[in-house]
Symmetry: C2
Subunit: 256 residues, 2 copies
């Protein structure tokens, strides 16, 4: 009988400040929930607390908007300093319409406002930015958890993204360590023996979305533990999986 | 302490034929897994078995491709009869490039090949189509489960869709009964009291993706039970939620 998959919310993590030891907070939350980390578990943690711990943020008072940012902000009723931050965090604007900026971030993620976020930032007029390198954030967190518990877990740094065509946000994996981001079923036969051409499952995005089900946006639950997930490395070496594996190569992208 | 969410795979469901009693098969699989359906549970079932039970399929031998379908098939090495079926199932072609057809189905879903699928179809040269009305499929399944168990559960009819920009498939909810497809957090204050403008979470898509984590594509596990999910109706009336609530209105869609 296949085992169930279990998702535990990890509440009780306090407001995170730059330099805070996020691994210690996660282990504390696990302990408070009566859980210990096991080999093969996955920790999904919100990008926002990772960014706060890493000090990935910007004070609006320090930002001088360029003319385009001022014009866009005036036209659509936005804060020009936030718009300027979005432009700085972007390497390409994908759409700028009806007050919505969809861009490709420095990392390659396509999302609204390049992940620049003023809500729940922990301070007034401070924007939280995406982590500089979410894979590195995930790897460091995995390593810290491994050193303190002796257990090899998967780590996902996740954020909520909108989608074209479909309404509402789902969580996406930005940074990944110790798990297979995309399960490649190409070449395996289907149940009638017909070759399956392109069945690649975005496991890490599905794990991130699953974790979101227990993390209410306003309930200060910035992390969850998933037990029983497929594709998790159980060795100290996290393996080659990267959040960038979830980015569609430009030549396969019909919607650039 | 918030409760965990658990996801149980429901294996052992045989190849489904037109007219089969899918609710009976699901209850049999639950029983084999040592589970009974509880109020507030969610059953996620693959579109393909729903379509098979409803006889939503087409024999390629009966399909005469139109000239465009013949040209496209010749150019890209496709089966012209399948291309014809894709056109019949579509109300709008969103992209036709590099051998890939992305269209808006009769229902309004934007996906590759309008959901027309030759793999695992249960017979040679038979294509499985999307259910005629996935919400109706979900409602009927919910009603059958309610009548036989007395328990009000949520039901999601799910399929795997690709996404622009991001690599790999995730599961999407096509039909929904007895649960809130999109959790609307607009207007609630964030943890600093700043109003949250547009935080709408696509709960049903996140539930569908979560279920996919326990349903291997080749393992003949076409359904899963999720226990502990938010937003599930516990009354006989399934409420107004529809899979169509997950479609972005045209006027908000920057990627038509």
């Amino acid at each position: 009988m296949p085992s169930p998959l279990t998702i535990h919310p990890l509440p009780g993590i306090p407001e995170i400040r730059p330099g805070d030891d996020l691994a210690a907070h996660l282990l504390g939350a696990l302990s408070d929930a009566g859980l210990e980390l096991l080999e093969g578990d996955v920790i999904v943690v919100a990008q926002k607390v990772v960014s706060k711990a890493e000090g990935s943020r910007a004070a609006l008072a320090d930002v001088t908007p360029r003319p385009w940012a001022q014009r866009w902000a005036e036209r659509w009723g936005k804060d020009a300093r936030q718009v300027e931050l979005v432009l700085r965090e972007s390497r390409r604007i994908v759409r700028a319409e009806r007050g919505i900026l969809v861009s490709e971030t420095r990392h390659g993620f396509v999302c609204a406002n390049a992940g620049v976020d003023l809500s729940n930032s922990g301070a007034r007029d401070v924007a939280v930015l995406l982590p500089e390198d979410p894979d590195r954030s995930a790897r460091l967190l995995r390593q810290a958890l491994l050193e303190r518990t002796g257990r090899a877990a998967g780590v996902i740094v996740a954020d909520s993204f909108g989608r074209p065509w479909r309404h509402g946000l789902t969580q996406a994996a930005l940074g990944v360590a110790g798990l297979t981001p995309v399960a490649d079923l190409r070449g395996q036969a289907d149940t009638e023996g017909r070759p399956m051409h392109v069945t690649q499952i975005a496991l890490a995005d599905e794990l991130a979305s699953a974790a979101d089900l227990v993390c209410g946006k306003t309930a200060r639950i910035p992390a969850a533990l998933i037990r029983g997930a497929p594709g998790v490395a159980r060795t100290p070496d996290p393996g080659p999986g990267s959040g960038l594996d979830l980015l569609r190569p430009a030549e396969q992208d019909l919607f650039r």
